[in-house]
Symmetry: C2
Subunit: 815 residues, 2 copies
């Protein structure tokens, strides 16, 4: 499996044809360069690779290089004789013309050159930069995983300035580095003069060569004339200069890559990092990223030697692969949904930049912010949520959520801002790094040394869902069997989520007892219930029993009498459950990590069959491109801020609130993800989780104390599934080094046994596995993150089955 065939970077060059027809002279420019390279590097092999070619002149073109640049190793991989776009020509072909196969072939070819000898290769594409490939993909998209440095062949003809710049832009927005422009001289239109200046401003050099001689009267004379032409042009000083500079840029790039970790160590203060004794080479240099993979600069031994050999400015010689794809196993800190370098998102970001830039949002509205708000309110499928408040990240969105809830509670219960009001939550929760959201979690490694941290709340212990030796269990925290009952096993993960089938009485009794103790005995005031639905991420990928979370919300909502601290409940404080007014305490769902398809559904609240009064969404909101967060609130929360006084308003708002780029990208992402859901894009993943014979027995009748079916969000009854296969999870769970496993949606968490007996964030049990996954050296590595003894993996919503299965095989092998 080669999930992301990837480059060697040994000075490949790539030609692009900026114009409509072949006569901008791509092959002629290639021939000139081949000859010039041969002259410049007499001891090196010069390769010419044309992955796809069409037209009757295919054979002739083949001979062209052979005739005029003798000794160049010319290869064509896919040839079609019809003089039409490859996507049409390929229709009648029996070859495998999928993007994957073409890319694999090109990669194999390039790897061959790199391994067999010192050399240089020119890769010439077919048609223009966005001409369709045989599969119908745009060429620039097809070759993007290679991200070869680009020489763009400019158009010397009338109108060629515009088409050359447009071609540059199409490459640039796909993340290519266009290093130079080369084009024919033309004294009438003189496009080169304009383009030279235009591109110089962008750090790109433009070169011209004389146009080839006009066709002569006989083939022999023509050949002679062309031979003379190539002889002259390939010796021209500025052609040599081009090669020098292209090569120097390449060397500079490699040198730069080699220096980046050191320089980062100098100038960057990394997040969540103890810098003392951190080895510099632990800093991963990411050159680019595509799909599920980083393109990382190697830190192995081989690289040192390569670096020194490329230190001189020459087109040459390094046969070592400098860049290595690494699977982005943390989905870049849980953000990635639509893959790195997604061209649709890049274009959406650029359009919003071009249309608005950023426009102030106080007292204003623009289309991207409005459309996104409406889309979200519609898709969360929660009749309570009516208003959208924008911020920049999960932490600020949670600050807003807490401000909203506390105000609503204080207004209803008549407390002042001087009163000490706290929140209810779960142990191991994490809501962000700003001090207000830190205060929403119990003291832990994350916050206990932060000077202004003052945990303000009570946090419940809770039973967790785990797979042990192939069996799903719900386990109480250690030593809490008395409160939660003993561990229970389930025949499937679905069964865990069939809340109405399960016994709710134990949890009800425990929670009620606790709430009475906290409020009546201890006299504490609470203003919100705050939970991460289903999976508590930063706390260690803790998979909470959904029934416990459901029950906690339910009991809190029916306990206004406990929270109001008065004997008679105010008339407005206990609305009927049919309304969308909040009751007991405002319920905040922190879906920053779990929402928007991370767990396979639009909301993670749907798993709990609970409609929160406030919910917060971030990471996947923009598909993994730029920061943006939304806090959704119910009308009754909103109403708590209404008054005649400005000072009663929610006086919160960041400068880039509802920035057009983020909102546009988010709308594009959500549309793409919900389309994927609608068209069954994840069916292949779901297959491995389909109910098997265990589940074919008829559902057991509801127990007397089962959770009520109301309210049941739309997707609440859909079966649970994960992109990580059930056989994989099962195999892991049987492994002797593994304590337990959880898998849901795109998330997999492997809890490792700590031989030293440590647990949680302070354990280092998972580090060895992480390191061995990263060190793998056969073509691609795996980058992953650990949380103490837990190694987790996260796919993107666009990860292919093939990629995920390959990663699974790696993990099993590494264990």
């Amino acid at each position: 499996m080669n999930p992301n065939p990837n480059p060697l970077l040994n000075i490949p060059m790539r030609h692009e044809d900026a114009a409509t027809r072949l006569n901008v002279g791509k092959t002629i420019v290639s021939t000139i360069l081949c000859k010039a390279l041969q002259r410049r590097l007499p001891e090196h092999a010069v390769h010419y690779l044309k992955p796809v070619s069409t037209g009757p002149s295919v054979e002739e073109d083949n001979r062209h290089i052979a005739t005029f640049a003798k000794g160049v190793h010319a290869r064509r991989l896919f040839q079609f004789s019809e003089p039409v776009s490859p996507h049409i020509a390929a229709r009648s072909s029996k070859e495998d013309v999928s993007d994957k196969n073409i890319l694999d072939c090109v990669h194999q070819e390039l790897s061959g050159y790199a391994q067999s000898e010192d050399g240089v290769v020119i890769v010439e594409t077919a048609g223009g930069v966005l001409s369709p490939a045989p599969s119908g993909s745009l060429q620039a998209d097809l070759y993007r995983p290679l991200r070869l440095p680009v020489l763009l062949v400019g158009d010397h003809r009338l109108g060629g300035i515009g088409t050359s710049i447009s071609a540059f832009e199409s490459l640039h927005i796909r993340g290519y580095d266009v290093q130079s422009i080369m084009m024919f001289e033309n004294s009438v239109y003189d496009n080169a003069t304009y383009l030279r200046e235009y591109f110089l401003d962008r750090g790109i050099s433009t070169y011209t060569v004389p146009p080839p001689p006009r066709p002569a009267t006989s083939i022999a004379r023509d050949q002679e004339a062309m031979a003379g032409y190539y002889e002259r042009t390939s010796r021209m000083e500025h052609v040599a200069d081009f090669i020098e500079r292209f090569s120097a840029k390449h060397d500079a790039r490699i040198k730069n890559l080699g220096s980046m970790a050191d320089r980062a160590d100098q100038s960057i203060w990394h997040p969540f990092t103890q810098h003392q004794d951190r080895p510099k080479d632990s800093i991963i240099t990411i050159d680019s990223a595509h799909g599920d993979f980083f393109q990382t600069y190697g830190t192995e031994e081989s690289v040192g030697s390569t670096l020194s050999s490329t230190n001189e400015s020459s087109i040459s010689s390094d046969t070592t692969s400098l860049l290595k794809p690494a699977f982005d196993g943390s989905a870049s800190w849980w953000t990635q949904g639509l893959g790195h370098g997604n061209p649709q998102l890049a274009l959406a970001a650029a359009h919003a930049s071009g249309r608005y830039g950023h426009v102030m949002f106080a007292g204003a509205v623009h289309e991207p912010a409005l459309n996104l708000a409406e889309t979200l309110l519609q898709h969360v499928d929660n009749p309570r949520l009516k208003k959208v408040f924008y911020t920049d990240n999960g932490s600020t969105g949670m600050e807003v959520a807490v401000k909203m809830a506390l105000r609503a509670a204080c207004v209803r219960y008549g407390w002042s801002s001087e009163d000490e009001v706290q929140i209810l939550g779960l142990k191991g929760s994490y809501h962000g790094d700003t001090i207000g959201t830190m205060d929403c979690s119990e003291p832990s490694t994350y916050n206990k040394k932060v000077e202004w941290y003052r945990g303000r709340g009570h946090w419940f212990d809770f039973p967790q869902v785990k797979m042990r030796r192939g069996v799903w269990v719900v386990e109480p925290p250690e030593g809490m069997e008395a409160e939660f009952g003993p561990a229970r096993t389930f025949e499937s993960l679905d069964e865990v989520f069939q809340l109405e089938q399960r016994d709710i009485a134990t949890y009800e009794a425990y929670i009620t007892r606790e709430l009475e103790r906290l409020t009546k005995e201890e006299g504490r005031r609470f203003g919100a219930l705050v939970m991460e639905p289903v999976i508590l991420g930063a706390g260690g990928m803790l998979f909470a029993d959904p029934l416990f979370q459901h029950t906690l919300a339910r009991i809190v909502r029916s306990s206004s009498h406990l929270f109001s601290h008065s004997t008679s409940t105010p008339s407005s404080s206990n609305p009927s459950s049919a309304t969308t007014d909040w009751a007991g305490l405002p319920l905040i769902h922190d879906e920053v990590f779990t929402g928007l398809y991370r767990l396979g559904r639009f909301t993670s609240s749907s798993f709990l069959r609970t409609h929160p009064d406030i919910s917060v969404h971030a990471k996947l909101l923009t598909g993994g491109l730029v920061p943006l967060c939304v806090t959704l609130a119910s009308q009754s929360i909103f109403d708590a801020f209404l008054s005649g006084a400005k000072s009663d308003a929610l006086l919160h708002g960041h400068s880039y609130t509802a920035h057009a780029v983020g909102c546009t990208v988010a709308e594009t992402s959500l549309h793409q993800m919900s389309s994927m859901e609608a068209r069954g894009a994840w069916d292949a993943f779901k297959a491995s989780w389909r109910p098997d014979h265990h589940n074919s027995s008829p559902p057991t009748p509801s127990r007397p104390n089962a959770a009520p079916a109301q309210p049941t969000p739309r997707s609440g009854t859909a079966p649970t599934w994960s992109m990580w296969s059930r056989p994989f999870a099962t195999a892991l769970s049987h492994h002797p080094r593994v304590d337990s496993v959880t898998a849901l949606g795109s998330v997999l968490a492997i809890s490792l046994r700590d031989p030293a007996g440590a647990a949680g964030y302070s354990s280092t049990a998972a580090n060895a596995l992480r390191d061995s996954l990263l060190a793998a050296s056969d073509g691609w590595a795996m980058h992953s993150r650990v949380l103490g003894n837990v190694l987790y993996l996260m796919a993107s919503q666009t990860s292919s089955v093939e990629t995920v299965r390959a990663v699974e095989a790696r993990v099993l092998a590494a264990l």
Copy 2:
């Protein structure tokens, strides 16, 4: 003055030629459409406008429309007979071919059509979408302020798929709405089939028309053949369908614009807004933005009638200007530096999206983040600052700054995180909306009702700089003459900033006294001095006496003995002033608003001649496009987090930390702004602030107690200036409604007298001025924001002198 000629939007259409040469058939398509429109709308005038044309066929083309679409009103504005790109053809022209003049002419022409009759206009551009205009600008950039809906003429020839898509992308990233594609049929290449599907996915319809007949043997026959061709094609059903849909889209757009304020009122919870009794029509609908101007949807009476008349789906008739440019007077909440819709920033954002998307930053590095960090550390010109920590906005960046400072102080002074440690600051300061940063400000309207707010600090009163009746004064706060001395006048703003010439003794004595009281008498512990240098933004654009801020930092730095709470100062706590170690307390400069050229210099710290230990930069960092923030810290601050324990690290980091899009855009912006500084782009603004005869006297010798010249950042002695002219500021300061004025860099603040005697945030004195500026109806309006009795205006760093002066004239007229 028409700073931003702007469209009427009465169904203008615009043709773009996707390909190299004229023969994709733009004029032919135009002719077909003109005829079809005439047929469809017999009672309406059909206009054809070609702003720029070149080539020997100019005359012929003129006749073409006249011959084949009789009755169409065809206009050409700028004609050049050379058959080359307009930028070459225009060289020999004596006409004014500046972008401004061409745009003004087009706007005038379109306005004329709109005012005189019901009608529809087709605007046909010259060459391809990115062909150079006469001035050398790219055409798509030239016409961008009009942002007319686009019909792209696709290329039917070999290679035309790629060039058509590239042309679309070049338009799309500039913020255009490409509504449809129209192109000739071609059965060989069949580009239309591919493009139809491709664009359908993007919500864009593709139409084909038969190619025109081949040239006939005589002119007469040719004419006849063409006439027949136009007769046939203009009657084709799908041409009618195109017109129908184009028109329907236009109507839908207007309807959408009309509904947005209402819908926003439904679904959006606006920042910093009291929603009770808010009139819906106070919500401004922003359709797009360009340069310094929003394009807003009108809310005046005229609009209502227009809306109803365009309610039916027809190409027709509304003669009212629907969109109105409004000067973005708050620089979109203080963010804008390089103008809305800046194509360089759009392209930079797209490139980073295409190259990386977002890649996780923990333990990793990528080029944009590293380059930006190095650029910042170099440009802040502060030998203390060595490390860059990334967050998403000013508030989170300030949370990080406070965490850094408190830790450093606690480590040095041996306090635990249980100890109550506070900060020192200034009254009226504002550092963000998250609870931790709110706690850094004294109780105020902004925070006092936030349930978890607990102001943790002491905030000094301070003297302010103001212009009153043309004279710069430094005034003590009311009733504090005893502490600060009486108000002092200065001959120029420069003189205020000549700190070494001024008397420092009074401030020194006061500050020392206060610090002793706070620490010795009250026994309070402090962990940081936090200041916004020079201008305290949200607090009401308070212009602090730079000498006071300078002195406060200086005294705090020499007062370790007060802060350490021990009789003997620890050996490490009072390093020599020559080192870059912090002393006394870590000094945080919150430059979120004032930094990065907002006040005319890279840092606002340079005005104070003080090197902070920590500085925070945000708003202008990305030139005004996306959220990003940096917290810069000294080595000694960084070192306070080093230990063998992970839990001692700065455990802070948002998901999108150092996102590649933000870092790339920021690097591009900073480069552009510092290039502007280097090439004297602001010289015309500076001219009005040059020292006049008052300042020609030789500098007076330093006084004995003057502030020491060390350390003096590079730009510390540059004269002060503002984009707002001195005559304007002076005139304002003499106005009876004005209490005082301040101007520095791109910021102007007008403090209005409140007839009711209210002051500060609770005053509404500035609202009337704001409203009258917004209501102005001769072509453009002014959008501005108030802070209580202060109306402020903020230019972008790219605002033109002409625009700023026009705004000044408006303000004087409105007063």
